[in-house]
Amino acid sequence: MNETAAPSNEETNKNGSSDLEKNTTFETLLEVHNISLSFGGVHALDEVSFDIRKGEIRAIIGPNGAGKSSMLNVINGFYHPQKGSITYKGNERKKMSPQVAASQGIARTFQNIALFRGMTTLDNIMTGRNLKMKKGIFWQMLHWGPARNEEIHHREIAEHVIDFLEIEPIRKTPVGRLPYGLQKRVELGRALAAQPDLLLLDEPMAGMNVEEKEDMCRFIIDVNEEFGTTIALIEHDMGVVMDLSDRVVVLNYGKKIADGTPDFVRADQGVVDAYLGVSEK
């Protein structure tokens, strides 16, 4: 977790968006174009455009109230922007319900944990498999034959996620009883169980201690590298953001103020002003 981990071969690149990264294909997975979203008179997002490439870790940062979470909510169909377009996997979409987004491979976690508290870790992760389970209600009543095979098949995938996140001992514990850090991990597990193409993480490391943060970073990198999952994350810990992400987009007051590699963004005067404040002259 040191500050020099970011690739340094494109320091000279002016806009930072066409540089060489570890993925060489540059296939765009998702593109948001001129998104504007307002609630009454409050403009949460104002003409924001950026893209997310397949296989990258894309960070969205910005001061409080910058519209980061709103952006994620727009991407997974929870909010419908008044203006602008979203192109996902080459298809432009107008209005999309969260269910459709989920079925197309977008999964997410929440800033404040949104687990199903009364259910066990295993059940929570199994709900992530819900969309992939197809057997009808009559087979479920019998819980026998095809329905049981399906259940076992998905259990195997859920167990794989449990294994990956190293949460085997708590698989039968109701998540309401787990400590915060583990709950965050279970929530990541639920999103992973859906085997998403695009994973949206809303402050995955908020409120964690250093060790938990390091674990979480490791999981995020592993998910990205092992499963090839594209990740868009919101995070306030700048050290983490700069180390993890391939590219960073910076929002402030609903506007995009910078977009590029971590080093490019760090050097940007507008970003520095937004974070440190600028004296009125």
Binding site: G118, N130, H143, A191
Partner: protein, 358 residues
Amino acid sequence: MFYRETGQFKSSYKADQAIFPLSQDRWFILFLIIIAFLVIPLTASEYLLQAVMIPLLIFSLASIGLNLLVGYAGQLSLGTGGFMAVGAYMTYKLTTAFPEINIIIVFILAGLISACVGLLFGIPSLRIKGFYLAVATLASQFFLVWMFNKVAWFYNYNSSGTITAPPRELFGITVTGPTATAETRYIVVLAIVCVFALIAKNLVRGRLGRSWMAVRDMDIAAEIIGIRPFQTKLIAFSISSFYCGLAGALMVFLWLGSAETEAFSINESFYVLFMIIIGGLGSILGSFLGATFIVCVPILLTNAPQLFGLSMPIDLQKHIEIMLFGFLIVFFLIVEPHGLARLWQIAKEKLRLWPFPY
């Protein structure tokens, strides 16, 4: 504890997902089922079957139904009595119109009709939650009971306004009507309750049950991972009403023999709600425990004073019963919202470590 999971290794997910993963539990349940099917009908008195066992089983079925809706899907409902009435009246209409149809099929059909009615009254759950939904379901309770009272077609225009179970046979044995013995009725009820309890357990441990619990615990998160809350709630309403309707049908045809709409009043809805609160929300076992408790406590209260050689006036008994229920509900809501089923679980966890709780 007499046994624990030590040494019982599971080598497949199938074994791990069994309803009773421990072999001792499986043997115990098998033992219980054998007792219930063989020993009780042979030894129990008519009074025990008619006053305890049959109502206990029927109310267990109704509580399972309500528990699916309230405990698992998190939708508070006070319409149980109304849905039970639908089951009872529809069974009556169907079996008087088509006497040749097997009575079990008639029960199922009546259950399906009440499932449709439940679906209809579940529609408000899209917009309203919690206590407001409870009030909306109260409308179904009053409307349905009023309808069965007012529309004479439902009780075949008879002068008394009651529905009476006509004699119907199953495998050549009369199971309903005044000539049916308590033993046969008990066996039929027991078989139906066993089958539908198993189905309920299967539902709640599968995909549908997880969707219900997800909607109960956090509907927004459920929506994000692709569960459609409205559809899920409607399925919960219809399946719950199916169970309640079936219980209502069994209540008239295999227990009481005849009934008026009075039997399905709001009190009935509250009784079943008490059962699942005391028994345990979100637990199939809890439904049985709660029904057992609520059915047995009045009987114990009736008989206990005589055991001690005291006599208690009937009205005092009734009042003590009501006070006791009220106290217990407040007690459970404060101390253990998951009811008797959770207490049982805690006792098991404590006993696992006993006598060395370190």
